[in-house]
Symmetry: C3
Subunit: 362 residues, 3 copies
């Protein structure tokens, strides 16, 4: 357990700068202890400013997030924030303590959106170290954390597991006991809003003519539109998410990296893929769970992102005649349209297995 006010232990070297004294250089593999709970800093109050920036940076068009009157017709008091924005905000808060020195963000699982979040709320985050495994090269290890976002009262709003590869500070330091957490293939319990979503749902206003019943297992949807990423955009987005990992911002540092340039934050690719998915999935307005996800290749400024989705499963929800769930596998690809549904290869930059909620026909 990290103590309040305690000075972090990770005063260390990395390959580019000697962080000394009060400068935080991020944790290395040795700095993580199984069972440790890390409270993350800098809570963030969510505002209409962040919501507008997110829309301008991603092009997200989901009507539930765009219009207060539309959201009220769906039973909300006012528009919730985009779920993936909330995911990225929680993720970003964990970066200084978890992944500042990460070599790779390997995967996500068991991401449960416990409730939707509104403007005016304040988010903070903590991470539990739930697994550790040193790699056979002796120079890196994998850290598994469960990160949880909380509101200002400390009530959980979002939780997920991710695992990242982190370099060791000293290759000679002893390996910890290997503990790999058992992760579920899927989030079983889906959080569903209580109110009746489809009571006054207007598909024309939604910009999306399809209801839950219109989708079939195995159906593939090419989201068609492509969006080219600029450095200014992904950096602004990544700062919006409070993610300060240097690989996204520092071209001088990046010139000496394996890629030779800044890498786009993977969570922003999720945001772009989700925004692109509006074309074909525009009524899939609530993200309920992310069962798994991986960034299968990096993306850079100048890359054009496309996306396509396979409907893995259509899932009725018990006692709910207003709303149904779709388990979806969205893949983002770069620099080529996704009309032929590419499932693998160097162009595929994201695989995201998630469940969205859609209104049913009245």
């Amino acid at each position: 357990m990290t103590q309040k006010g305690a000075k972090p232990a990770n005063k260390a070297q990395d390959q580019t700068a000697t962080a000394t004294g009060k400068t935080d250089a991020g944790r290395f593999f040795e700095d993580f202890t199984l069972g440790e709970v890390i409270e993350h800093g800098v809570p963030r109050t969510l505002t209409e400013g962040q919501a507008a920036l997110y829309q301008a940076l991603t092009g997200s068009r989901f009507a539930l997030n765009a219009s207060h009157p539309f959201a009220r017709l769906a039973g909300y008091d006012h528009s919730p924030l985009d779920d993936i924005l909330v995911f990225n905000l929680v993720f970003g808060q964990s970066v200084p303590d978890i992944s500042l020195n990460a070599v790779a963000n390997l995967g996500y699982a068991e991401c449960d959106f416990l409730r939707q979040v509104m403007v005016g709320e304040t988010i903070s985050a903590r991470s539990d170290v739930i697994g550790l495994k040193e790699n056979s090269d002796g120079e890196t290890g994998v850290v598994y954390v469960r990160t949880t976002g909380m509101d200002h009262r400390g009530v959980d709003i979002l939780t997920y597991v991710r695992w990242v590869m982190i370099p060791k500070r000293d290759p000679k330091s002893p390996a910890p006991e290997t503990v790999i957490p058992e992760l579920a293939d899927r989030v079983e319990r889906l959080t569903i809003p209580r109110h009746r979503i489809n009571r006054l749902w207007d598909p024309v206003k939604a910009g999306a003519p399809y209801f839950w019943e219109d989708y079939e297992t195995g159906e593939k949807i090419d989201h068609r539109d492509g969006v080219t990423i600029e450095d200014a955009e992904h950096m602004m987005a990544t700062r919006l998410y409070n993610n300060k990992a240097r690989v996204h911002f520092d071209a001088t540092l990046a010139a000496h990296s394996r890629f030779g340039k800044r890498v786009v934050y993977g969570g922003h690719i999720i945001s772009l893929a989700r925004a692109l998915s509006f074309n074909g999935l525009g009524s899939a307005c609530i993200v309920s769970a992310i069962h798994g996800g991986s960034h299968t290749a990096p993306a850079f400024a100048g890359d054009t992102i496309y996306a396509w989705t396979e409907v893995l499963e259509t899932q009725a929800i018990e006692n709910r005649r207003d709303i149904g769930a779709l388990r979806l596998l969205t893949r983002a690809v770069k620099n080529r349209p996704a009309a032929d549904f590419p499932a693998q290869g160097p162009d595929v930059v994201l695989e995201l297995d998630y469940t969205a909620l859609l209104p049913k026909r009245r």
Copy 2:
């Protein structure tokens, strides 16, 4: 009339991707029917976030939009949103149904700003198809629509006509009857705020020393300042406006287009020209009508936009001693200053014939 919940008819091919199933590829010329009313999707609640982004993307300095206290001295409850932002938001909502496949946005007319719009309001839009004309090449046609923005109660706030060139899906499909709407040379009836604008108007605070009486017919004003456009900026602005036309976002697609690169959304050029016009027209704080407009040449990232304006007419307003109108012809040019008032040529990217309201001297 498009029916609520009906699936759009335009499941079609375009040159770059086969849109199938639930993916919307936009309408082709054959998909428009004279008299059809198209309700557009995704209403948008306007926030301080969007207002701040608009200012940061255009540099707009009109005091009425910048300061609540200034607006209150001019008789408003609080600052209205920039009129051209509202225009672009309404335009953007119409794009998925009207101009996703447009070859060119040919012109505007009869644009009437029925009232100013405030933060907290929600805008939606519809378009009436008022004219159709197949071109002699048999491959494209011109569609005339009257697009109207509405508030959340459905009351009109803005209406304009635009005409766009749209490709036919199938050159062999029969031509519709040609109907070209009669369009007025100018908006006759100007919407004027009811309150007395100049009661406490402070020209120093306005950043603009001139009143309506200071302008003369035939006067030419070089707005002097230039602004270079970056891809990140015009894409953020175009997403802010909810305009999802691919030509603005997808560099991979654009590489195969006639221009070889992304095109800046013409409405953003209007916004930039209007913002530049502050230097010389800073008290022209309300846009009352756009009588006509055309994007005479495309603009791209890297282009520097300048603007100049000719005062076409000074117009007193009946029974109003506080405010007068100027009919203005603003031209935007690229990559060369406008000090010599260029009226035509490949550098001229915009002609905008509009009426603005200015306070009179007390």
Copy 3:
């Protein structure tokens, strides 16, 4: 004293455009008179939109500005805006009247942050001409102004002196009497919030484990992180600050300048350096004074900014057991890490001598 509604005198030529008639081309050295008070135009109401943009453009992480609940625990009603944002907003308002034609922004002094500013407030600004000195070349002169930001009631919130080199319109015009103001080495009186800052201060939430007592005179802190600047970003930031100086926006004009390209507004470098300083100075959450500052070299898009800080002095505050002051010298450098604390040379782009307030340990 500039009269209300009076037409500015500076209708002049510059090297690139003849500003005529109603176009403002900015003032030249001859246009300034000792003792003149210049009221600046276009007050700006501060919103959550501007706060979010500032965060997304700078990456600022100070918890006091990020979270309303955090600010309330520190005794505030809600989060104040970032102090450097407020500084830049006041500066920006002065640009059209002071430095539109500036050759160089030579320095700052006596910058006193009289109180913190909240969302919803409206800022305006005025400048007093307090010094004039023609340069020996006879072609330029130095203008000293004291610029003051005010709230909507006209109460001062921020005041500072800056001096800029301005070209003469006509080298043959007579030199004014030389008056160089006496400027204090430091702001003696520090403005301290009245409430008890550290009552419920949580260093984990602050993202910063150190308190005032943890810093020592002479201590050097490498802020480690670097941020590469894009043209889209610095232009958006500079518009956010209401600064319209053409050197930041017009690449066509800049191609003929001494640098050949757009220059990053120096105030944005201050913002970036302050944001970078979070790593090591995260609890230095209030800027109380800027004693001196200079932009020692220009920065351009593509440059990567790093920063380091020397603690010049630790300063107890009378009768305050909750808070202490640090006098800090922050230097920003470009395109090289600051781990070796570079104090001079062509890479150093900013020297900023300022005082920040930090909570004391309870």
